[in-house]
C-alpha cells in the first residue's frame, strides 16, 4: 500500500530542541533499557548509604498528575523525585478542577504555565500522555494510560528479573490472567520480547486479545502451560473492568478453579511476580503470594530505583547525541 503518514503537524509544538518522553516501551531500544537498568543499579547502591538523598535534580520540578487511584505508582514516583532533590507536586483528579469538568488540554496548559520539567501522568484513557505532551513543554512519563501502556512497571519488572535471576535473555516468562484489560501485560510483552525473553500468555480465551501473537508472544488457554516457565507473572483480575453481563468468564469462582496460580500448579524454584494490588484467593493463592519464590516485594522496591533512573535519564541526557534518540520523541507518536 502507499505509504501514508498520519501526523498532525499543525498541532505539534514548534521545533525547539526535541523533548524526550517515556510513553511506551515500544519507543525504547535495547540499549536504552540496558542504560536505564544500569542507572537504577547505581541508585540502588546509593540508597544503601545513610543519607539517601542525592542532589542530582535540585531545582527541577516533577508534577504527578493522577486521574486514577494508585498507591504504589504515585508514591514511588513522588519518593523517587524527592530522593533526587526535585520539587514535587501531586494532583489527583478528585478535588481538583478536573472535578469541575476541566478538559485534559486545559489542565495541561494550566500546569504547563508553571514550566514543570517532568509531568508524570496516569489517566484512564489511551492517548492522554500524548495529548499532554502536545500542550506542554515538559518531559512526559506515562504512569499508565487506559489499557495501553505502563512502561515504568515493565522496566521495574525487568530490573527485578535481572537482579534475581541474573539475566533476562533466554528466560521463559508466563503471563497469566486478564491480558485483555492489562496495560501491565502489554508493556511487559514488549519489554520482555525486546530483551530476548520468551513470553507465553495464559488465560481464558475471551481475556486474551485476538491477534496479540503479533507482539511476539505465544498463547495458551491451559494453566499447565505455566509449568514450563522460569517466571510466572500473575495479572490482577480487574474486577472493576468486568462490566456486569460482559461474560468474559462465567464467575470468579470458575476463573480461580481453572486459572488461579496455586502451589500445586507451580514447580519448585519457579519465581512468581504480580504487579499489585493482589486479589488473594482469586488470581493468586495466598500461599504462593507469601512464598520465598515470590518477588512481589522486590518489585515494589525496584519501582523506586527504576523511577529514579527514568527521571534522571530524561532530565540529564541532553537532546543531542546518540542517547537523544533513546526515549520517545514527540512527533514520532
Amino acid at each position: 500500500m502507499a505509504e501514508i503518514r498520519v501526523m498532525r503537524e499543525d498541532l505539534l509544538p514548534p521545533k525547539e530542541p526535541p523533548r524526550r518522553h517515556l510513553i511506551s516501551i515500544g519507543d525504547l531500544g535495547r540499549d536504552d533499557v540496558e542504560r536505564l537498568l544500569g542507572t537504577a543499579r547505581n541508585f540502588e547502591r546509593s540508597l544503601e548509604r545513610e543519607l539517601k538523598k542525592l542532589p542530582t535534580l535540585r531545582g527541577k520540578t516533577v508534577v504527578n498528575l493522577f486521574y486514577e487511584s494508585s498507591t504504589r505508582t504515585s508514591s514511588s514516583f513522588e519518593l523517587a523525585a524527592k530522593r533526587l532533590s526535585a520539587d514535587t507536586m501531586s494532583i489527583k483528579s478528585a478535588g481538583s478542577s478536573v472535578d469541575k469538568g476541566e478538559s485534559l488540554k486545559d489542565t495541561a496548559l494550566t500546569l504547563g504555565a508553571y514550566d514543570p520539567d517532568v509531568i508524570v501522568i496516569r489517566h484512564p484513557q489511551i492517548g492522554a500522555p500524548q495529548l499532554v505532551a502536545r500542550y506542554t513543554n515538559a518531559h512526559i512519563v506515562n504512569a499508565g494510560d487506559g489499557k495501553h501502556q505502563h512502561p515504568t512497571q515493565a522496566l521495574l519488572d525487568l530490573y527485578t528479573i535481572s537482579e534475581e535471576l541474573g539475566r533476562i535473555e533466554g528466560l521463559h516468562v508466563a503471563i497469566v490472567g486478564d491480558v485483555l484489560h492489562s496495560r501491565v501485560a502489554r508493556s511487559n510483552i514488549q519489554a520482555l520480547a525486546l530483551m530476548g525473553a520468551r513470553v507465553t500468555l495464559v488465560g481464558p480465551p475471551p481475556l486474551i486479545p485476538r491477534g496479540i501473537e503479533a507482539m511476539g508472544c505465544e498463547v495458551s488457554y491451559e494453566i499447565d502451560a505455566i509449568k514450563a516457565a522460569d517466571v510466572v507473572y500473575v495479572l490482577r483480575m480487574q474486577r472493576e473492568r468486568m462490566a456486569e453481563g460482559a461474560n468474559f468468564v462465567p464467575s470468579l469462582r470458575e476463573y480461580t478453579a481453572r486459572w488461579g496460580v496455586t502451589p500445586e500448579r507451580l514447580r519448585p524454584g519457579q519465581k512468581v511476580m504480580h504487579p499489585g494490588p493482589m486479589n488473594r484467593g482469586v488470581e493468586i493463592d495466598p500461599v504462593v503470594a507469601d512464598a520465598a519464590d515470590a518477588l512481589i516485594e522486590q518489585q515494589v522496591r525496584s519501582g523506586l530505583v527504576v523511577r529514579m533512573a527514568v527521571l534522571y535519564d530524561l532530565l540529564t541526557h541532553g537532546p543531542a547525541g546518540v542517547q537523544a534518540a533513546a526515549l520517545h520523541e514527540i512527533g514520532a507518536a
Binding site: I4, V6, E9, D10, Q125, G127, G146
Partner: protein
C-alpha cells in the same frame, strides 16, 4: 428531492480534456453553457460574449455527488450549517449532496424536513437532498410517517449512526417503505458485538489495548439486511462499508438478484488500522479503519462495481471535542473538501484505480444508488461540471477549509489533484 440555489450562468470552458465515459466523451473540447444548460460540445466554439474559462491542461468531468454528508443542522450549527457544508461541497467538486437525518432534533417529521428544505433553497451552494429517519427519533422502535415525509421531499430513509436493531422492525421498514419509492440506506452494526469498540479488532487493537469493533459486527448485519431485502424483494443501499466480508456478502446478493448498492469512504480506501497507532483522534470513525485485506477488498469492490459509490461520510466535529485522548473523542472525520484529492493521490496515482472509474463512482454511481439523475456532459443536460487540475498539489491545512470543522485525517499531508471550478445546477458554485 434536491433543494438549493439554481443558476442560469453562461460560460464557455475552452480546451479541457472532457471526460465522461458513460456519455462517450473523452477528448479535448470546448463546452458551452447557456442559461445553465450544456448547449454545445466542439472545437473553437463561439463565445458570444460569454465568460471564457481556460481549461487547457485540465480535466472536465461530471461534477460529484456525495450520498453521505452530516450537515449538523439543526442542532450543531457550531460544527456545520447548510451554507458552510454546501460551500465545502462546492469546493470539493460536488454538484449535489445528501444529508443524513441524525441531527438534533432528528429529521423524522415533515415539519423539520420542510424547514431544512426552505433554508437550503435559499442558502445551499449546491443542491441538497435530505434523508429522513426510518424510526422516530432514530429510536429503533416505531416507524416514521414515511409516506408523508416522502411527499415533503425526503430523498430516502436512514437511521444512519444507528442500526435498525430489531429484525422485525427492519422488515416492516422494507415492506412499508415500498410505498414511498425511496431507498432505505442502512448503517450495518450489530451493537452487542461493537459495544465499547474504539477501533478495528485485530493485531493493532490488541497491542494498543483498545476495545475492538470486529468486522463481523458489520458483516453480520449486512447479511441480515440483504436476507430481508431478498425476502421482501425490496432494494436497499448499504452505507459506509468497511469489511471484506461485507463486500463479499453484497456481491453474492447482487449475483442472486437483490437490488442492493453500496458505498465506501475515502478514509476506508486510503487508510488501515495501522494509522491508529498515531492515536490521532482524526483517524477515529465508525465504522473503524480496518485491516489491509479489507482495504484491498474495498478497492476491488469499487473497481468491479460491487460498490458503486464513494461517500465521504463527512462528519464535522467541534475542535474541542476532538482535542481529547483518542478514547474520549467522538467518531467521524470531514471529507467533502479532500475526497477527490485523497483518492486521486492514494488510488489513481499508484495505479490501483483508473481515473475514469473514480470519476464514475463519485458522480453517476452515487446518483444511481438513490435514483437521482446522473450528472452528464451532453447537449441538453443541466450544467453539473467539475474542472480538475491533476498536476497541482497542495498541503492540506486547517485554514483552507470552508467547512466549519477541520477534523480531517489529511491535515498536514500533501495531496495532488485540485478542483478549479465547480458548476452545480447551472451555477458557478466554486472557483479556486
Amino acid at each position: 428531492m434536491l433543494f438549493g440555489k439554481q443558476g442560469r450562468d453562461d460560460l464557455v470552458i475552452r480546451g479541457a480534456h472532457v471526460l465522461d465515459t458513460a456519455a462517450g466523451v473523452d477528448a479535448v473540447l470546448d463546452v458551452r453553457v447557456d442559461g445553465g444548460t450544456i448547449v454545445q460540445l466542439g472545437t473553437n466554439l463561439e463565445t458570444n460574449a460569454h465568460r471564457v474559462v481556460d481549461g487547457q491542461g485540465l480535466v472536465l468531468a461530471p461534477a460529484f455527488v456525495d450520498p453521505h454528508v452530516h450537515l449538523r443542522t439543526p442542532g450543531r450549527e457550531d460544527e456545520e450549517t447548510i451554507a458552510s457544508g454546501t460551500a465545502a461541497a462546492a469546493a470539493g467538486g460536488y454538484c449535489a449532496i445528501l444529508a443524513m437525518p441524525n441531527t438534533e432534533p432528528v429529521v423524522d417529521s415533515a415539519a423539520v424536513l420542510g424547514s431544512l428544505a426552505e433554508t437550503a433553497q435559499a442558502e445551499a451552494d449546491v443542491p441538497v437532498g435530505f434523508l429522513a429517519a426510518i424510526t422516530r427519533n432514530q429510536g429503533g422502535a416505531e416507524l416514521t410517517e414515511m409516506a408523508e415525509l416522502a411527499s415533503a421531499g425526503a430523498a430516502a430513509f436512514t437511521d444512519d449512526g444507528q442500526p435498525v436493531v430489531a429484525p422485525g422492525l427492519m422488515r416492516r421498514a422494507l415492506q412499508y417503505g415500498a410505498v414511498t419509492r425511496r431507498r432505505l440506506a442502512l448503517h450495518c452494526e450489530e451493537p452487542t458485538l461493537s459495544k465499547g469498540g474504539q477501533m478495528h479488532e485485530g493485531a493493532v487493537s490488541a497491542e494498543l489495548g483498545f476495545e475492538g469493533y470486529p468486522s463481523v459486527a458489520e458483516s453480520l448485519m449486512v447479511e441480515r439486511d440483504l436476507a430481508l431485502a431478498a425476502y421482501e424483494r425490496q432494494p436497499l443501499h448499504l452505507l459506509h462499508l468497511s469489511a471484506r466480508e461485507s463486500v463479499e456478502a453484497l456481491s453474492r446478493a447482487q449475483v442472486a438478484g437483490v437490488v442492493a448498492t453500496g458505498e465506501v469512504t475515502p478514509h476506508h480506501l486510503c487508510l488501515t488500522d495501522e494509522a491508529v497507532r498515531s492515536l490521532d483522534p482524526n483517524v477515529k470513525m465508525n465504522p473503524p479503519l480496518r485491516a489491509e485485506e479489507d482495504r484491498q477488498a474495498l478497492i476491488a469492490g469499487l473497481r468491479d462495481g460491487t460498490i458503486g459509490a464513494v461517500a465521504t461520510d463527512h462528519a464535522p466535529h467541534a475542535r474541542h471535542e476532538k482535542e481529547v485522548p483518542f478514547e474520549a473523542a467522538p467518531f467521524g472525520v470531514t471529507g467533502l473538501e479532500t475526497a477527490f484529492s485523497a483518492l486521486y493521490t492514494h488510488l489513481v496515482e499508484p495505479g490501483l484505480l483508473k481515473l475514469e472509474t473514480l470519476l464514475e463512482r463519485m458522480s453517476a454511481g452515487p446518483a444511481r444508488a438513490y435514483g437521482l439523475d446522473a450528472p452528464r456532459i451532453a447537449v441538453g443536460a443541466p450544467a453539473n461540471l467539475v474542472l480538475l487540475d491533476l498536476k497541482a498539489s497542495r498541503r492540506v491545512s486547517e485554514s483552507d477549509f470552508r467547512s466549519r470543522s477541520a477534523n480531517s485525517w489529511l491535515l498536514g499531508q500533501t495531496v495532488k489533484g485540485k478542483v478549479r471550478l465547480t458548476i452545480a445546477a447551472g451555477r458557478v458554485a466554486f472557483e479556486g
